[in-house]
Amino acid sequence: MLKSILSLLLLTGFSFALYSQEKISQTFKDTRVINSHSVETLPKRKLDVRISHRFGDFAGDNGGYKTFFGLENATDILFGVDYGVTDRFTIGLHRTKGAGSMPDGSSGLRQLLNGVGKFRLLHQTSDNRVPVSMTLVGVASLSTAEKIDDNPDIIRSFPKFAHRMATHAELLIARKFSDGFSLQLIPGFTQRNLVPFEDENGIFSLGLATRVQLTKVMALVADVTFPFSERRTTENGFYTPLGVGLEFDTGGHVFQFNVTNATALMETDYIPYTTSNWSAGQFRLGFTISRLFNL
């Protein structure tokens, strides 16, 4: 026991020694890539007000000119705030409409309150003694949708209060390879407390995200998340959420314009429920506005 405590103390001391090295900043410029979180946490006492929007299908059966390429529909909308409690710990609260659905059209959780916690474990250093940055992310989503009692086959029957919830945890491992290129790996686990018949509650996933800086202000960003589930195959009507976007950082303001097949905005929603297919034109335009304030 004593040995373990001693080892832990030594390890903590070692970690702090590493932290004294010069840290690599801005592996990503925002706390989100497109659909995924980025390894970045907010600086202490910064408030990040965020608005994200995902429009309807650009093309395909529900897109095209009749919906003005999806701009007349909104699949998901997020507004909320993140706050830097310390330089390494960020909390956030966001409201989303909820947009995920099963291939048969039955919907996932709707009208969600999403709590987010991010803790930075490691910060990449310039001398490579710490080669990567690492952040732990936890997301808890709670559906505030009205309960529908008389239909036990749908998720919104909510037999128990806990069935309103879905959670997600992930470890972000990122490296800034140069001023212009960053890469991030995202192993994660999503737990839904109530799922459609024969679906699984827990899903492991692996995501990949990248950022290519084009100019001081503009960057190309992309992310993809692969759910590890036998049921989540294209044959069963599920598709891999993939997004690409252009990000503009004007100093305190980050504006992102993106295209993705994911209809939903939170991990608890888009990882288990992406059923839109890029090749069928079921991708959508989206944007995110992030504005930092000093508190």
Partner: protein, 349 residues
């Protein structure tokens, strides 16, 4: 058993007596009589011994909660210790005093304001090169918000021009875009500033001048002349001349830039606030992206133009009150602006 109990009680009593609540501390910089003139002698004391009028910047030590330590915290961290020893609310969400002011000597010769001499001096001392005048020796000055600052702050500078307390308050409210300081906080800041007042060794004096002051102190020389001599050795206030960007921004100021000097300005001045978003939302670093962006905007009329923001500054806006103060001519010369531009051009390639 009784002995153990007594010893324990005495120990507790001693601990309680030794323990001091932070606000109870009135660690105002004490002024001891200068016996001999040394480099460590405090200028204010020497002047007083020579018969000069007492400084108007004396701390009101009668006021409750006044402490040099609290003053130091307010200056460097932005909060102090209020009633009960608890942290006060932060003075400003955006800045602390040291965002724009050094707290060490920053000019090799305090009798002149030469930005190039200052740049080389702060480089050697490991200090940043900033828009504001160093707070070191601020209590020895009698004039504040001088020269063209009236163009920026209008009538607000009138009360602050000859009053250090008003100057501190103006700095808190306008420069730092924060809350007003309480009276005891202003006195605490003043108490801290007295711990970084000018010493005789800070003045550039030759042996003859030093002897004249010494003799006057010993009653063998002209005290009035000695006072005059000492006051010539430092500025009573920082001159401030507002200048405009070059008429032709593409051509720049009519000087050839020195990239090596520009590197110093970029690292000691620009990066002080913009590196990793320390005080600014607009981030700068040593990447080519930063230099290309600065170069592209140098000659423009945008908020990213160095000419524009260095000479005019930016304005605090609702929701974005972290603004950039301008550089007066005494804080960055036109030559230095061109040096900075030369460095940016060199680094963008």
């Amino acid at each position: 058993m009784k002995a153990i109990f007594s010893t324990f009680s005495i120990l507790i009593l001693c601990t309680l007596m030794a323990w001091r609540w932070p606000v109870a501390e009135k660690a105002v910089g004490t002024k001891e009589k200068t016996a001999l003139l040394t480099k460590e002698s405090r200028l204010a004391e020497v002047l007083e011994q020579l018969g000069d009028a007492p400084s108007p910047n004396e701390v009101n030590t009668e006021m409750d909660m006044v402490s040099a330590k609290t003053g130091e915290e307010l200056v460097t961290l932005g909060f102090g210790r209020g009633p009960g020893g608890f942290k006060t609310s932060r003075q400003s969400k955006h800045f602390v005093c040291t965002s724009c002011h050094n707290i060490e000597k920053e000019d090799p010769d305090l009798s002149i304001s030469d930005p190039q001499a200052r740049l080389l001096y702060v480089k050697d001392k490991g200090l940043p090169f900033l828009q504001g005048t160093s707070l070191y020796g601020a209590v020895n000055r009698t004039q504040f918000y001088n020269g063209d600052y009236s163009k920026k702050y209008g009538s607000l500078v009138e009360a602050a021009r000859n009053n250090i307390r008003e100057a501190i308050q103006l700095c808190a409210e306008e420069c730092a875009q924060g809350r007003s300081l309480h009276e005891w906080e202003i006195e605490s800041v003043l108490a801290y500033l007295w711990t970084i007042d000018l010493k005789m060794g800070d003045l550039v004096m030759d042996g003859n001048e030093w002897s004249r002051v010494e003799q006057a102190l010993e009653g063998q020389g002209d005290k009035g002349m000695a006072i005059e001599l000492l006051k010539e050795k430092y500025l009573a206030g920082s001159p401030a001349t507002f200048v405009t960007p070059p008429a032709d921004r593409k051509e720049g100021y009519p000087m050839v830039g020195n990239a090596e000097n520009g590197k110093l300005i970029y690292e000691l001045s620009c990066l002080h606030c913009h590196e990793d978003g320390r005080y600014a939302f607009y981030r700068l670093d040593d990447s080519r992206f930063s230099f290309k962006h600065l170069d592209k905007h140098f000659s423009r009329y945008t908020r990213y133009s160095v000419y524009q923001v260095a000479r005019y500054g930016t304005s605090p806006l609702n929701g974005k009150r972290a603004y950039m103060p301008n550089y007066t001519l005494e804080k960055m010369s036109n030559q230095q602006m061109e040096d900075l531009r030369a460095y940016v051009v060199q680094m963008k390639k």
